[in-house]
């Protein structure tokens, strides 16, 4: 087989004829596998990607950036007598790909055998490919994106007279095709589109400046929020931060808004992920069957969700994905494993090479207002800063900003404080979850009410 050089011919070809693009990528993937086998690899796997992205940014009514990006890449991993070698290139010309395979084989001549290394079992490869509804191509030229960004920013700047400045609004589109193939003969293709818009505004008063943003992202352009919604949303979020101050040091309940609540669930996922478990770097070692969340909480992974943020019929090993609970009634059902980490732990893969796919928290049935009322007095957090999360010990300490809640109502904005606790307690003693689920992300959760955390702020 020969490979024709991929030309930059017609930047929109990918949008108009994704099948042809996928065929090209499959040709490359097949050749890479063949060449790896011919070069002495017992097994090999390859990922080939191709994407087209456009983004327009507008600030204070003027165009700030117009960007067009065409990206392609190949990554190959070879296994020679259980020695692993990996290589990648962004150059898809035949000679560059040949060299990449050679490089991977050369690396494998120097690494040491790893009994857990190798492809997932052939019997586990995906055979059914349900329609996931991820491909909604619209060819939007840069000037149309810029016009929309201008509308978003204008709506935001005119929404409130305290909006004093802007970091701008941007609108972007992305379309991508990818192929994963391995020497079992498995070839899986995926394709998807994504449309995003955001706006960052600055509000000012005597005390100083505050910045916040709003955004939306979707698989289909038609369902993206109206420009005014994102612009006004950004203005509202920014203005409500004016006058923020510290609160005294003490212990209070903390309500995590959805934009930070998903991070909390993400830490749980991290702690039960194979890599951290076989490195003994988790506060949840040997926790399957243990209670890690309250009895009302269930976490379900839905990899085949139509239009989902991370929907796919197969995982990063080619293994068929399926709907499955991670936590049921507060009890940890399983870990999050790839075929490699599963072998390291003497377990079976959970089809999670590449992480969880569309993880949904079930059990949040109350509105945010009800949660605020239930909390009575405490802190609502909608921004977290810094890296103070230790998954080995579960110790948690991060910078935060949000709102002080008093008598079941939002009292005033808060900043320059930290919240600290232990993840095991924070997750285990979750009091309630909200129905305000943010469905745009891979982790789908509403607000989460944490029983008690230490807040550090002003003296006293």
């Amino acid at each position: 087989m020969t490979i024709t050089e991929l030309k930059n011919s017609g930047i929109d070809a990918l949008l108009h004829d994704p099948d042809r693009e996928a065929d090209l990528l499959v040709d490359i993937a097949t050749r890479v596998i063949d060449q790896a086998r011919a070069g002495g690899a017992d097994e090999a796997e390859v990922t080939v990607t191709s994407s087209l992205a456009r983004e327009a940014g507008v600030r204070l009514g003027e165009i700030e950036t117009l960007e067009e990006a065409r990206d392609r890449g190949v990554r190959v991993t070879v296994y020679c007598k259980q020695c692993v070698g990996s290589a990648s290139t962004g150059d898809l010309r035949a000679d560059a790909i040949d060299e990449t395979v050679e490089r991977a084989l050369a690396i494998a001549r120097h690494t040491q055998p790893d009994r857990a290394a190798g492809l997932a079992e052939a019997a586990l490869m995906a055979r059914h490919f349900p329609e996931l509804d991820l491909w909604h191509p619209v060819n939007l030229p840069l000037d149309q994106l810029a016009e929309r960004a201008r509308e978003i920013e204008q709506a935001g700047r005119s929404a409130d007279e305290r909006i004093a400045n802007s970091e701008g609004a941007s609108v972007s589109t992305e379309a991508g095709v990818s192929v994963y193939a391995n020497s079992h003969g498995f070839v899986g293709t995926g394709r998807g589109t994504r449309y995003s818009q955001s706006c960052v505004l600055i509000a000012r008063d005597e005390a100083g400046m505050q910045r916040d943003y709003d955004y939306d992202t979707a698989r289909s352009f038609e369902v993206l929020a109206a420009p005014e919604t994102t612009g006004r949303g950004a203005a509202g979020r920014t203005v409500r931060r004016l006058g923020a101050r510290r609160i005294p040091t003490g212990k209070v309940p903390v309500l995590f808004a959805p934009e930070v609540a998903r991070g909390l669930i993400g830490h749980l996922v991290g702690a039960v992920s194979g890599g951290n478990l076989y490195r003994r770097s988790s506060f949840l070692l040997d926790a399957v069957g243990e209670t890690v969340m309250p009895a009302w909480a269930t976490l379900i992974e839905r990899p085949h969700l139509p239009r989902g943020a991370k929907s796919s019929a197969f995982d990063g090993d080619g293994v068929a994905t399926r709907e499955s609970a991670l936590v049921s009634g507060g009890v940890l059902d399983r870990y999050v494993l790839s075929s490699y980490s599963a072998r390291r732990l003497g377990l079976d893969t959970t089809a999670n090479a590449g992480g969880v796919r569309n993880l949904e928290l079930i059990g949040g049935d109350r509105s945010v207002d009800e949660l605020i009322k239930e909390m009575g007095t405490g802190l609502m957090v909608n921004e977290l800063m810094g890296q103070g999360v230790n998954l080995v010990t579960g110790d948690y300490s991060r910078g935060a900003a949000g709102f002080w809640i008093e008598n079941g109502e939002i009292a005033w904005p808060v900043e320059e404080i930290t919240i600290a606790g232990h993840l095991r307690d924070m997750l285990g003693k979750l009091r309630a979850a909200g129905s305000d689920v943010d469905t745009r992300h891979n982790i789908r959760t509403g607000s989460l009410l944490v029983d008690e955390m230490t807040v550090a702020g002003a003296e006293g």
Binding site: N8, I11, R59, I63, E64, T65, L66, E67, E68, R70, D71, G73, G85, S86, A87, S88, T89, G90, D91, L92, R93, A96, E99, T100, I107, A108, R109, H110, T111, Q112, D114, A117, N165, E167, I202, G208, M209, Q210, R211, A244, R246, T249, R279, R280, S281, M385, G386, G388, V392, S397, R398, G399, E415, E416, I417, T418, A420, H422, A456, G457
Partner: protein, 476 residues
């Protein structure tokens, strides 16, 4: 250097001076201030050890050309991931879209300057043999395990990259650079009873691999990683509240990077969205504080001979004896603010736009002995190691997460305390620096700075500092 890069980067693609001028000509218009081509080729190699064996290795190659056209505050940008004349011409046509009409512009043919080289041009990925590198990782693993029987996991990573860049602009800017970058990371997990704690140490810079392979280098980091994990095994919960904080020398300079560094980048100040905007000449720190950003230091991780826009790097004074005196600039923001670029225009790769970024940011030494600084504190904490930080440049609020810290009581160091996040306000934290030590140190070479999704290698440093009031985010 320019000629060498021209030969290595462009000649294989059949490109030369004539083709550069042809592509630049396609960018020209009387509406743009300048157009620019940025060629880059980067190879990197990495090896990782786990469970006593080198189980992973990777070789990554990337090349391409980023093309931009700058008109006022606007930029048109496109890139191609193959270096060839057709892809270059295509990208130039896309980038030029920022210029609404197509008037004639004039191409200035440039001459590459001779900026003094800040590092060697050698390729660390071809230094010695792969066998030597794999053997080094195994030797390090055995050494770490011999230090303490409580060590249960050791991971060691070695990475080396070699990058060539070439910048050519329509206004005569022309430059090339060849940049090596190497790094060694050692991470240990130690267990004692029910308790498990991590320790980390690592370092590197822009130099040959043999310096990193010398026993003195890696033994130091191995011992340091084990020492940190040992300290954390005995750490007590950290206090919560507003208190005096003494910061150790070296890597705790992350404070400067977050609290003042980002806020002094030209783009944020040109747009008036930094907490430091419009404060040039004002007092923002105590008189003991002088802070610089220096891209010229030999062999340092954050150093560059020329930045990614072809401007030679500088030592730029940001704060002099407590007064704000300088911002860090790239070409676009310098021009709009009517000042000179400072050699801080950096980009993650050809596929990203340049913007003002830090290089090596540090505070000059003061007059106090570090012991004297600790002795001056009645009640507070001494933080000597950090994971990293983050800042909101508009409100000025910044955090940095301590990974090794101790109580100070009555001028004496007490028990080790668990990691905790420290939070403060950038524009006033340096006005509370009560004492500056005489022990300036730079970090060991592990920093990565992220801004608008782009990561670039940076350095930080400082002498021991006493800050009279920061919020410490512990639990007790």
């Amino acid at each position: 250097m320019y000629e060498q890069v021209l030969d290595n980067l462009l000649q294989p693609a059949g490109l030369g001076q004539r083709e550069l001028e042809l592509a630049l000509g396609r960018l020209l218009s009387n509406q743009i201030d300048f157009g620019e081509l940025y060629f880059q080729h980067r190879v990197s190699e990495s090896w990782s050890l786990e469970d006593g064996a080198v189980k992973g290795g990777s070789y990554d190659a990337d090349q391409g050309v980023g093309v931009r056209a700058v008109a006022g505050a606007g930029t048109g940008f496109a890139y191609a991931d193959t270096i060839s004349l057709p892809s270059l011409i295509d990208a130039a046509a896309s980038a030029r879209a920022i210029a609404r009409s197509g008037g004639e512009g004039k191409l200035q043919v440039g001459h590459a300057g001779q900026a003094p080289a800040r590092y060697v041009a050698d390729d660390p990925t071809v230094c010695g043999s792969a066998t030597d590198r794999v053997e080094l990782l195994r030797t390090i693993d055995a050494y770490v395990r011999s230090l303490d029987s409580r060590v249960s996991q050791v991971s060691v990573n070695l990475s080396a990259s070699h990058e060539s860049i070439l910048v050519a602009a329509t206004d005569g800017v022309l430059g090339g650079d060849v940049r090596p970058l190497i790094r060694l990371d050692i991470r240990v997990l130690m267990e004692e009873g029910e308790r498990r704690e991590q320790g980390f140490s690592g370092g590197g810079g822009r130099y040959r691999l043999d310096a990193l392979m010398a026993p003195g280098f890696w033994q130091h980091h191995a011992e340091e990683a084990v020492r940190q994990a040992t300290v954390n095994l005995g750490a007590e919960p950290a206090p919560a509240g507003y208190m005096t904080v003494v910061l150790g020398s070296g890597w705790p300079g992350v404070l400067l990077h977050e609290a003042v560094g980002h806020g002094l980048e030209g783009d944020f100040n040109r747009k008036g969205i930094s907490a430091f905007s419009g404060r040039m000449g004002e007092r923002v720190a105590t008189e003991e504080c002088t802070v610089v950003d220096d891209g010229t230091l030999a062999d340092r991780r954050g150093s560059l001979t020329i930045d990614d826009e072809g401007t030679p790097t500088n030592c730029t004074t940001l704060i002099e004896k407590g007064r704000l005196v300088g911002y860090m600039q790239d070409r676009l923001n310098a021009r709009l603010m009517g000042v000179e670029p400072t050699g801080n225009g950096r980009r993650e790769s050809f596929a990203h736009l340049p913007m003002p970024r830090m290089t090596n940011t540090y505070m000059l030494p003061g007059k106090h002995d570090p012991g004297e600084i600790i002795a001056s504190v009645d009640d507070g904490i001494y933080a000597v190691n950090f994971n990293g930080g983050q800042v909101d440049i508009t409100s000025g609020k910044f955090v940095f997460a301590a990974s090794e810290a101790y109580r100070i009581k009555n001028g004496k160091l007490g028990a080790a305390i668990k990691g905790a996040t420290l939070i403060g306000n950038g524009p006033d934290v340096l006005t509370r620096v009560g004492m500056v030590g005489n022990d300036l140190e730079l970090d060991s070479g592990v920093g990565v700075c992220g801004k608008e999704g782009q990561g670039v290698p940076v350095g930080v440093g400082q002498p021991t500092l006493r800050v009279d009031g920061l919020t410490v985010g512990g639990t007790s």
